[in-house]
Symmetry: C2
Subunit: 140 residues, 2 copies
DNA sequence: AAACATTTGCAACATAGTTGCATTTTTGAT
DNA sequence: ATCAAAAATGCAACTATGTTGCAAATGTTT
Protein backbone atom coordinates (compact mmCIF):
# COMPACT_ATOMS: atom_id res chain seq x y z
CA UNK A 1 0.00 0.00 0.00
CA UNK A 2 2.49 2.56 1.24
CA UNK A 3 4.89 1.22 -1.38
CA UNK A 4 2.29 1.75 -4.07
CA UNK A 5 1.54 5.27 -2.92
CA UNK A 6 5.22 6.17 -3.05
CA UNK A 7 5.45 4.86 -6.59
CA UNK A 8 2.29 6.65 -7.55
CA UNK A 9 3.57 9.94 -6.20
CA UNK A 10 6.90 9.46 -7.97
CA UNK A 11 4.97 8.93 -11.18
CA UNK A 12 2.82 12.00 -10.61
CA UNK A 13 5.82 14.24 -10.08
CA UNK A 14 7.69 12.80 -13.03
CA UNK A 15 4.72 13.21 -15.36
CA UNK A 16 4.23 16.77 -14.18
CA UNK A 17 7.91 17.51 -14.82
CA UNK A 18 8.52 18.51 -11.21
CA UNK A 19 11.64 17.87 -9.17
CA UNK A 20 11.23 14.94 -6.79
CA UNK A 21 11.70 16.54 -3.38
CA UNK A 22 11.10 15.41 0.16
CA UNK A 23 8.58 18.17 0.77
CA UNK A 24 6.49 17.54 -2.32
CA UNK A 25 6.29 13.85 -1.50
CA UNK A 26 5.42 14.59 2.11
CA UNK A 27 2.68 17.06 1.24
CA UNK A 28 1.20 14.88 -1.49
CA UNK A 29 1.10 11.95 0.94
CA UNK A 30 -0.73 14.11 3.48
CA UNK A 31 -3.27 15.15 0.88
CA UNK A 32 -3.77 11.52 -0.19
CA UNK A 33 -4.26 10.36 3.37
CA UNK A 34 -6.50 13.28 4.32
CA UNK A 35 -8.77 12.86 1.32
CA UNK A 36 -10.06 16.36 1.85
CA UNK A 37 -8.89 19.96 1.56
CA UNK A 38 -6.10 21.01 3.94
CA UNK A 39 -4.89 24.50 4.75
CA UNK A 40 -1.26 25.52 5.04
CA UNK A 41 -1.67 25.71 8.78
CA UNK A 42 -3.05 22.17 9.01
CA UNK A 43 -0.22 20.86 6.87
CA UNK A 44 2.35 22.61 9.04
CA UNK A 45 0.81 21.28 12.24
CA UNK A 46 0.65 17.74 10.87
CA UNK A 47 4.25 17.88 9.67
CA UNK A 48 5.32 18.58 13.26
CA UNK A 49 9.01 17.90 13.63
CA UNK A 50 9.59 17.74 9.88
CA UNK A 51 10.87 21.30 9.93
CA UNK A 52 8.59 22.60 7.21
CA UNK A 53 8.84 26.33 6.67
CA UNK A 54 5.59 28.22 6.06
CA UNK A 55 6.92 29.73 2.85
CA UNK A 56 8.06 26.34 1.63
CA UNK A 57 4.59 24.92 2.15
CA UNK A 58 3.02 27.75 0.18
CA UNK A 59 5.54 27.40 -2.60
CA UNK A 60 5.23 23.64 -2.69
CA UNK A 61 1.45 23.89 -2.90
CA UNK A 62 1.78 26.51 -5.60
CA UNK A 63 4.01 24.31 -7.73
CA UNK A 64 1.65 21.36 -7.29
CA UNK A 65 -1.25 23.64 -8.14
CA UNK A 66 0.44 24.99 -11.26
CA UNK A 67 1.16 21.43 -12.35
CA UNK A 68 -2.53 20.62 -11.96
CA UNK A 69 -1.90 18.03 -9.25
CA UNK A 70 -3.63 19.97 -6.53
CA UNK A 71 -6.75 22.08 -6.40
CA UNK A 72 -7.00 25.35 -4.52
CA UNK A 73 -10.30 26.11 -2.82
CA UNK A 74 -11.15 29.62 -1.65
CA UNK A 75 -13.43 28.87 1.23
CA UNK A 76 -15.05 31.30 3.61
CA UNK A 77 -12.23 31.32 6.12
CA UNK A 78 -9.35 33.60 5.35
CA UNK A 79 -7.09 30.66 4.58
CA UNK A 80 -7.18 28.83 1.26
CA UNK A 81 -7.48 25.06 1.28
CA UNK A 82 -5.69 22.62 -0.97
CA UNK A 83 -6.58 19.10 -2.02
CA UNK A 84 -5.67 16.51 -4.62
CA UNK A 85 -7.06 17.42 -8.02
CA UNK A 86 -8.66 13.98 -8.49
CA UNK A 87 -11.94 15.33 -9.63
CA UNK A 88 -11.05 18.87 -10.51
CA UNK A 89 -9.31 20.68 -13.27
CA UNK A 90 -7.83 24.13 -12.81
CA UNK A 91 -10.98 25.47 -14.42
CA UNK A 92 -13.68 23.41 -12.86
CA UNK A 93 -14.18 22.07 -9.38
CA UNK A 94 -16.78 20.09 -7.54
CA UNK A 95 -18.80 21.51 -4.63
CA UNK A 96 -17.43 21.58 -1.11
CA UNK A 97 -19.05 21.61 2.25
CA UNK A 98 -17.51 23.35 5.28
CA UNK A 99 -18.65 22.69 8.81
CA UNK A 100 -18.83 25.98 10.71
CA UNK A 101 -18.30 24.20 14.01
CA UNK A 102 -15.32 21.93 13.45
CA UNK A 103 -13.99 23.57 10.31
CA UNK A 104 -13.80 20.31 8.39
CA UNK A 105 -14.34 20.43 4.66
CA UNK A 106 -15.89 17.72 2.51
CA UNK A 107 -16.30 17.09 -1.18
CA UNK A 108 -19.97 16.69 -1.93
CA UNK A 109 -19.99 14.93 -5.28
CA UNK A 110 -17.72 12.74 -7.31
CA UNK A 111 -18.16 14.56 -10.56
CA UNK A 112 -17.37 18.01 -11.83
CA UNK A 113 -20.45 20.12 -12.25
CA UNK A 114 -22.33 19.91 -15.53
CA UNK A 115 -22.22 23.69 -15.80
CA UNK A 116 -21.54 25.08 -19.27
CA UNK A 117 -18.13 26.65 -19.77
CA UNK A 118 -19.52 29.93 -21.03
CA UNK A 119 -22.46 30.81 -18.93
CA UNK A 120 -23.12 34.26 -20.25
CA UNK A 121 -21.95 35.64 -23.57
CA UNK A 122 -18.71 37.57 -23.38
CA UNK A 123 -17.60 36.15 -20.07
CA UNK A 124 -14.66 33.76 -20.27
CA UNK A 125 -14.80 31.45 -17.28
CA UNK A 126 -11.49 30.11 -16.03
CA UNK A 127 -12.46 28.86 -12.63
CA UNK A 128 -15.71 27.89 -11.06
CA UNK A 129 -16.68 26.63 -7.66
CA UNK A 130 -19.69 25.91 -5.52
CA UNK A 131 -19.31 26.29 -1.81
CA UNK A 132 -21.70 25.24 0.93
CA UNK A 133 -21.27 25.89 4.62
CA UNK A 134 -23.04 24.68 7.72
CA UNK A 135 -22.88 21.77 10.15
CA UNK A 136 -21.54 18.33 9.28
CA UNK A 137 -23.21 15.16 10.63
CA UNK A 138 -20.70 14.97 13.49
CA UNK A 139 -21.51 18.50 14.65
CA UNK A 140 -25.23 18.82 14.05
CA UNK B 1 -34.55 60.02 -7.05
CA UNK B 2 -31.93 60.85 -4.48
CA UNK B 3 -34.75 61.92 -2.19
CA UNK B 4 -36.42 58.56 -2.63
CA UNK B 5 -33.21 56.66 -1.98
CA UNK B 6 -32.69 58.50 1.29
CA UNK B 7 -36.20 57.63 2.39
CA UNK B 8 -35.76 54.06 1.33
CA UNK B 9 -32.54 53.74 3.31
CA UNK B 10 -34.16 55.33 6.37
CA UNK B 11 -36.92 52.76 6.06
CA UNK B 12 -34.46 49.88 5.71
CA UNK B 13 -32.56 50.87 8.83
CA UNK B 14 -35.73 51.44 10.83
CA UNK B 15 -37.20 48.10 9.83
CA UNK B 16 -33.95 46.37 10.69
CA UNK B 17 -33.91 48.05 14.11
CA UNK B 18 -30.56 49.69 13.46
CA UNK B 19 -29.50 53.15 14.60
CA UNK B 20 -29.66 55.70 11.80
CA UNK B 21 -26.05 56.82 11.43
CA UNK B 22 -24.18 58.83 8.84
CA UNK B 23 -21.87 55.95 8.03
CA UNK B 24 -24.60 53.38 7.53
CA UNK B 25 -26.45 55.71 5.19
CA UNK B 26 -23.26 56.54 3.31
CA UNK B 27 -22.26 52.91 2.84
CA UNK B 28 -25.75 51.78 1.87
CA UNK B 29 -25.90 54.56 -0.72
CA UNK B 30 -22.59 53.42 -2.15
CA UNK B 31 -23.81 49.87 -2.41
CA UNK B 32 -27.02 51.02 -4.07
CA UNK B 33 -25.16 53.12 -6.59
CA UNK B 34 -22.49 50.49 -7.26
CA UNK B 35 -25.02 47.72 -7.86
CA UNK B 36 -22.29 45.14 -7.36
CA UNK B 37 -20.10 43.76 -4.58
CA UNK B 38 -17.63 46.22 -3.02
CA UNK B 39 -14.70 45.48 -0.74
CA UNK B 40 -13.80 47.45 2.36
CA UNK B 41 -10.90 48.96 0.49
CA UNK B 42 -13.09 50.14 -2.41
CA UNK B 43 -15.55 51.68 0.02
CA UNK B 44 -12.75 53.47 1.85
CA UNK B 45 -11.26 54.80 -1.37
CA UNK B 46 -14.64 55.98 -2.61
CA UNK B 47 -15.44 57.69 0.68
CA UNK B 48 -12.33 59.78 0.23
CA UNK B 49 -12.49 62.82 2.48
CA UNK B 50 -15.39 61.42 4.50
CA UNK B 51 -12.99 60.31 7.21
CA UNK B 52 -14.15 56.70 7.36
CA UNK B 53 -12.07 54.50 9.62
CA UNK B 54 -11.26 51.00 8.36
CA UNK B 55 -12.63 49.43 11.52
CA UNK B 56 -15.81 51.46 11.24
CA UNK B 57 -16.37 50.23 7.71
CA UNK B 58 -15.94 46.61 8.79
CA UNK B 59 -18.25 47.07 11.76
CA UNK B 60 -20.83 48.94 9.71
CA UNK B 61 -20.82 46.21 7.09
CA UNK B 62 -21.08 43.60 9.81
CA UNK B 63 -24.13 45.23 11.35
CA UNK B 64 -25.78 45.54 7.94
CA UNK B 65 -24.90 41.92 7.25
CA UNK B 66 -26.31 40.73 10.57
CA UNK B 67 -29.50 42.64 9.85
CA UNK B 68 -29.73 40.85 6.50
CA UNK B 69 -29.45 44.08 4.49
CA UNK B 70 -26.14 43.19 2.96
CA UNK B 71 -24.63 40.01 1.60
CA UNK B 72 -21.04 38.98 2.17
CA UNK B 73 -19.27 37.21 -0.66
CA UNK B 74 -16.04 35.29 -0.08
CA UNK B 75 -14.41 35.63 -3.45
CA UNK B 76 -11.02 34.36 -4.47
CA UNK B 77 -9.14 37.48 -3.52
CA UNK B 78 -8.20 37.80 0.10
CA UNK B 79 -10.73 40.54 0.66
CA UNK B 80 -14.41 39.83 1.19
CA UNK B 81 -16.91 41.72 -0.90
CA UNK B 82 -20.24 43.12 0.25
CA UNK B 83 -23.36 43.99 -1.72
CA UNK B 84 -27.00 44.74 -1.13
CA UNK B 85 -28.94 41.63 -0.25
CA UNK B 86 -31.57 42.22 -2.93
CA UNK B 87 -31.54 38.73 -4.22
CA UNK B 88 -29.82 36.91 -1.40
CA UNK B 89 -30.68 35.67 2.00
CA UNK B 90 -28.04 34.98 4.63
CA UNK B 91 -28.33 31.33 3.68
CA UNK B 92 -28.53 31.44 -0.05
CA UNK B 93 -26.85 33.58 -2.63
CA UNK B 94 -26.80 33.87 -6.38
CA UNK B 95 -23.68 33.17 -8.46
CA UNK B 96 -21.02 35.78 -8.98
CA UNK B 97 -18.49 36.35 -11.66
CA UNK B 98 -15.08 37.91 -10.99
CA UNK B 99 -12.86 39.24 -13.74
CA UNK B 100 -9.25 38.23 -13.07
CA UNK B 101 -7.97 41.18 -15.03
CA UNK B 102 -9.89 44.19 -13.73
CA UNK B 103 -11.16 42.63 -10.49
CA UNK B 104 -14.77 43.60 -11.16
CA UNK B 105 -17.48 41.34 -9.84
CA UNK B 106 -20.89 40.74 -11.37
CA UNK B 107 -24.07 38.99 -10.36
CA UNK B 108 -24.87 36.38 -12.95
CA UNK B 109 -28.53 35.70 -12.33
CA UNK B 110 -31.52 37.44 -10.85
CA UNK B 111 -32.76 34.53 -8.80
CA UNK B 112 -31.44 32.49 -5.95
CA UNK B 113 -30.32 29.06 -7.02
CA UNK B 114 -32.89 26.27 -7.08
CA UNK B 115 -30.57 24.14 -5.01
CA UNK B 116 -32.19 22.07 -2.27
CA UNK B 117 -31.53 23.21 1.29
CA UNK B 118 -30.30 19.82 2.45
CA UNK B 119 -28.12 18.44 -0.26
CA UNK B 120 -26.80 15.40 1.53
CA UNK B 121 -28.36 13.78 4.56
CA UNK B 122 -26.92 14.92 7.87
CA UNK B 123 -25.40 18.11 6.52
CA UNK B 124 -27.15 21.30 7.60
CA UNK B 125 -26.47 23.98 5.05
CA UNK B 126 -26.44 27.53 6.32
CA UNK B 127 -24.74 29.28 3.47
CA UNK B 128 -24.22 28.47 -0.17
CA UNK B 129 -22.53 30.20 -2.99
CA UNK B 130 -21.41 29.67 -6.56
CA UNK B 131 -18.41 31.55 -7.73
CA UNK B 132 -17.06 31.89 -11.25
CA UNK B 133 -13.88 33.64 -12.24
CA UNK B 134 -12.34 34.67 -15.55
CA UNK B 135 -12.46 37.59 -17.97
CA UNK B 136 -15.38 39.95 -18.31
CA UNK B 137 -16.49 41.26 -21.72
CA UNK B 138 -14.49 44.47 -21.21
CA UNK B 139 -11.27 42.52 -20.57
CA UNK B 140 -11.49 39.56 -22.93
C1' DA C 1 -32.09 68.13 28.52
C1' DA C 2 -30.58 63.75 30.89
C1' DA C 3 -29.59 59.06 30.90
C1' DC C 4 -28.66 55.19 28.46
C1' DA C 5 -27.30 52.35 24.45
C1' DT C 6 -24.85 52.11 20.40
C1' DT C 7 -21.37 53.62 17.25
C1' DT C 8 -16.98 55.62 16.19
C1' DG C 9 -11.87 56.38 15.97
C1' DC C 10 -7.54 55.12 17.45
C1' DA C 11 -3.81 52.15 18.57
C1' DA C 12 -2.31 47.77 18.83
C1' DC C 13 -2.67 43.25 17.40
C1' DA C 14 -3.40 38.59 14.73
C1' DT C 15 -2.88 35.97 10.76
C1' DA C 16 -2.57 34.66 5.65
C1' DG C 17 0.27 35.16 2.27
C1' DT C 18 4.51 37.36 -0.39
C1' DT C 19 9.33 38.84 -1.64
C1' DG C 20 14.38 38.82 -1.81
C1' DC C 21 18.36 36.49 -1.07
C1' DA C 22 21.81 33.28 0.38
C1' DT C 23 22.13 28.24 1.01
C1' DT C 24 20.98 23.58 -0.02
C1' DT C 25 19.10 19.93 -2.79
C1' DT C 26 17.93 17.83 -7.17
C1' DT C 27 18.98 16.65 -11.73
C1' DG C 28 21.46 15.64 -15.88
C1' DA C 29 25.94 15.49 -18.17
C1' DT C 30 30.56 14.09 -17.97
C1' DA D 1 31.05 9.12 -8.74
C1' DT D 2 31.51 14.08 -9.60
C1' DC D 3 30.48 18.47 -11.17
C1' DA D 4 27.70 22.33 -12.90
C1' DA D 5 23.23 24.24 -13.74
C1' DA D 6 18.51 24.63 -12.29
C1' DA D 7 15.30 24.57 -8.92
C1' DA D 8 13.82 24.24 -4.06
C1' DT D 9 14.48 25.68 0.69
C1' DG D 10 14.86 28.56 4.97
C1' DC D 11 15.06 32.86 6.95
C1' DA D 12 13.90 37.57 7.81
C1' DA D 13 11.24 41.17 6.69
C1' DC D 14 7.18 42.74 4.73
C1' DT D 15 2.13 43.59 3.00
C1' DA D 16 -2.69 43.32 3.58
C1' DT D 17 -7.08 41.86 5.56
C1' DG D 18 -9.39 41.74 9.36
C1' DT D 19 -9.97 41.93 14.82
C1' DT D 20 -9.98 43.63 19.75
C1' DG D 21 -10.18 46.90 23.65
C1' DC D 22 -11.25 51.19 25.18
C1' DA D 23 -12.29 56.01 25.63
C1' DA D 24 -14.90 59.60 23.20
C1' DA D 25 -18.73 60.84 20.29
C1' DT D 26 -23.26 60.16 18.53
C1' DG D 27 -28.08 58.43 18.43
C1' DT D 28 -32.29 57.26 21.00
C1' DT D 29 -35.72 57.38 24.62
C1' DT D 30 -37.84 59.50 28.44
Amino acid sequence: MSENLDEHIDEMLKTAGLYHTENRVLILKMLFKAGKPLSQEKIARQAGTNNLDKVTIYRTLESLFNAGLVHKAFLNKRASHYELAHRCTKKQCHPHFTCTKCGSTHCLVDLALPMPVSYHKGFIINHQQVHLEGLCPACS
